[in-house]
């Protein structure tokens, strides 16, 4: 039937839309959006049974946050073919995502990607920071949430400003799970393919008094990825995660309690894998319409074993934030303290942390004021003060100007300073005769200049464009301690700048067809500072493509049939181990068999049997095509 003509048609249509995108603001739409039938004759019972079309982005309130922000909604996440958190993050055009092995990814914003280099991102899961103090990066194989329970993911590229925690240098990813009151009832999802299988369930129930709770659990298995030339890495990966979330309280007091526990294993060596658990409590209290207090505390504990290395980390964190509004001011201030205790035992090679166990502290205090200068113009000034066990006091100021002439348009500009404070590896990794500890390693710094637009240039299009110029100093280098031979020492010998454009648009072409386009460019120029020679060939500058392009189409072909398909072009990664540019696609076809049962077919990396994404020659495996059939039951 029509579908056979549809596929070539869509490819042409997507390509055409890419070319047409900049001009669309002025071009008339091909056809009017059809008005829904008159519903007012229906009873409330009938209304409650009506299937509704999924909401389009155009109807969401425009966020007034003057940052480069992309939001992935619950619908975006569930409709996509992605089966894991890192694959979901490919939906954000302002992120660089490189699959390294079946279980590991390198993810960054605005460059500096790579296993070691992607250490300038703050990632929060319901307010819990998940970057590791070992190396300031994120171990993505310790993050296996049940995707159906995610409410939204905010992706900020650029320094996160005052209100986010430490390490928000190149970007912030904030993953927010659904309120337990919005996940009542049961959901079971099962999906299987040759490469990957996944089964999970959630059950949500009322606790009385308007309070609610849910419990969930899921298990997954992923096969080995094809080797990149050399020997296979046996990177097959399987495990499970379970947890709960309870939401209590009323408009004045809101309390959230949540926790997760996970365990997984990797085939590389016996006993390789990760396990951990966490517990978080958050209390928000509104004194009145203008004053609110939020207190949050969490405990997080995980242990990783890989290749004869054992790494464990316990984190305790307490944060307090107070909001007050008076006159033209919107004031936020607060502070936090975090302590971590780690233990790293390396039986694989002579590199050791000294001491192998260490408690670290991070203190921060912040204040931010948003002043309305006029009805449309706001000035935001913020200052964060941060101190860690390895550094003195760091001052992190940022200044932002937001001009919002009406609800549909926001123009903003910002300048901020951000730092990546030294990690355990930076300061205390050593090996007699080979590596001296980086006793003098200081924070890597960034001064970022940004400007952007976000708004709805037409009734059916949302558009976000931002430009940035990043000025880095004191990035990490590997240098001969005495300048001529071993031992090596980690130093702050690299400086440079990078600049680029990020853009994303979402257009409701038809009531049943939404098209999203995205673009990210990155140009960089890094050099060794006088007197420094970097043996890692500027690894800290990262391994990034200059261009990434994205197109994504969401089609509601009938009441029951939904097709979500994405296409991405990732440019060539240069350097000593170049990675060729590639085009890849993913798609998910969901059919609503009954009101309670969806069946779907989905696929990742559809265009090639296997392709390389990471320039880490020693570790990277090939990302491969993965097809799945699945079903989702609600009760």
């Amino acid at each position: 039937m029509k579908r056979r003509r549809l596929v070539p048609c869509l490819i042409g249509g997507v390509a055409a839309a890419f070319c047409a995108a900049p001009a669309r603001a002025q071009a008339p739409m091909p056809a009017p959006v059809s008005e829904p039938d008159d519903l007012s004759g229906l009873s409330i019972e009938d209304l409650a049974q009506l299937m509704v079309r999924s909401a389009s982005k155009r109807d969401e309130p425009l966020s007034a946050a003057p940052t480069s922000l992309f939001v992935l909604t619950h619908g975006d996440i569930v409709d996509a073919a992605a089966t894991s958190l890192p694959e979901v993050l490919r939906l954000a055009p302002n992120l660089g995502v490189q699959q390294i092995t079946a279980h590991d990814y390198a993810i960054t914003a605005r460059g500096s990607n790579g296993i070691a280099a992607s250490n300038k991102l703050l990632v929060l899961v319901d307010g819990r920071s998940i970057y590791s103090t070992l190396h300031s990066g994120v171990f993505w194989d310790t993050q296996t949430p049940f995707l159906e329970d995610i409410e939204q993911i905010e992706v900020i590229s650029g320094p996160g400003g005052t209100l986010y925690g430490p390490n928000a240098v190149n970007g912030v990813i904030s993953i927010v799970s659904r309120d337990a009151r919005d996940t009542q009832g049961g959901l079971i999802r099962a999906a299987a393919g040759a490469y990957e299988q996944d089964v999970g369930a959630r059950y949500g129930f009322a606790l009385g008094g308007g309070n609610a709770m849910r419990i969930y659990g899921h298990a997954f298995n992923r096969g080995n990825l094809p080797a990149n030339g050399g020997a296979t890495d046996d990177d097959g990966y399987r495990g499970w995660q379970a947890g709960f979330r309870a939401d209590l309280g009323d408009a004045t007091d809101q309390i959230t309690l949540q926790g997760d526990i996970f365990d997984n294993e990797v085939d590389t060596r016996p006993e390789d894998g990760n396990r951990g658990h966490n517990l978080l409590a958050r209390w928000s209290h509104a004194f009145d319409a203008d004053r609110a207090l939020r207190v949050q505390a969490y405990y997080d504990d995980y242990r990783r074993r890989f290749s004869l290395v054992s790494d464990s980390l316990q984190t305790m964190d307490l944060d307090v934030q107070y909001n007050a509004r008076f006159g033209a001011h919107d004031l936020v201030f607060g502070g936090g303290v975090r302590t971590t205790r780690d233990a790293v035992i390396n039986n694989q090679n002579p590199l050791q942390l000294d001491p192998p166990r260490r408690r670290l502290w991070v203190y921060n205090a912040f204040v931010q004021d948003r002043v309305r200068l006029s009805d449309s113009l706001s000035l935001i000034g913020g200052l964060k003060v941060e101190e860690t066990s390895f550094t003195g006091i760091e001052l992190l100021p940022n200044l932002r100007l937001a001009w919002q002439p009406n609800e549909r348009h926001l123009l903003w500009a910002a300048v901020s300073r951000a730092v990546r404070t030294p990690s355990r590896v930076d300061r205390q990794l050593q090996s007699p005769g080979m590596l001296l500890p980086g006793d003098d390693f200081v924070s890597e710094t960034l001064i970022a200049f940004e400007a952007g637009y976000r708004g709805q240039p037409t009734a059916r299009t949302t558009l976000s464009v931002s430009v940035f110029y990043n000025l880095y100093d004191d990035l990490r280098t590997f240098e001969y301690a005495d300048g001529v031979g071993l031992p090596i020492q980690l130093r702050n010998g690299l400086e440079g700048h990078s600049w680029g454009v990020e853009a994303g648009s979402s257009t409701q072409l038809m009531p049943w067809w939404r098209l999203n386009l995205g673009l990210a460019t990155l140009f960089k120029d890094f050099r060794e500072k006088p007197g420094h020679v970097d043996l890692s060939f500027k690894d800290a500058a990262g391994h990034d493509p200059e261009v990434q392009l994205f197109a994504r189409s969401a089609l509601d072909l009938t009441d029951r049939l939904r097709i979500n398909a994405g296409l991405r072009f990732i440019g060539r990664i240069g350097g000593t181990n170049p990675v060729g540019s590639y085009v890849e696609a993913d798609a998910a076809i969901t059919y609503r068999l009954t009101e309670r049962l969806d069946v779907y077919a989905s696929g990742l990396n559809l265009l090639h049997a296997a392709h390389l994404e990471s320039s880490d020659a020693g570790t990277a495996q090939l990302a491969q095509r993965s097809l799945q059939l699945g079903a989702r039951v609600r009760f």
Partner: protein, 175 residues
Amino acid sequence: MRAALPALAACLAAVGPARAQPTEEAVQATFLPKFARYAAWPSGRQPAGGTPFQLCVIGRDPFGRLLDAAAAAEQIDGHGVQVRRLPDERGAAACHLAFVQGRQAADTGRLLLALRGQPILTITDARAGPQRGMIHFTNLSGRVRFFINEAEAAQRGLSISSRLLALAAGVTQRR
């Protein structure tokens, strides 16, 4: 680009629109004036004979003329439903029902708190944030449903009919 447009148009013709499913906004807009039928206000706040219920949209208006049309079609025991749009809580004292949505989630919370203590049936949408009015729209399995905080409504002298409560995805009951 010009050459691409006919291809695009042909593409659209090949598919044809899916059967018109209402949007979430259209269904919510239809619910809103109907809520007046299933709630009772304190005696001093019931609209006088012949005067309409005041349905206010405070903050953002995601409905536009969908709501005007739905309100115009509603007659409740001789009372019409009049839609008023307010930028903030000022002037809200005369509202019987208020759909509340700030530009950002935190603004919704502020507006709700500012309305606290008045006999106004407040309504919010989960998509705009976690802040909840007495009725809180959500999407369950592709349908518009809502949570009802009966306890808070009762504190302000409002009572909600059992027919509406029976439809709720969850009810915070009176203690």
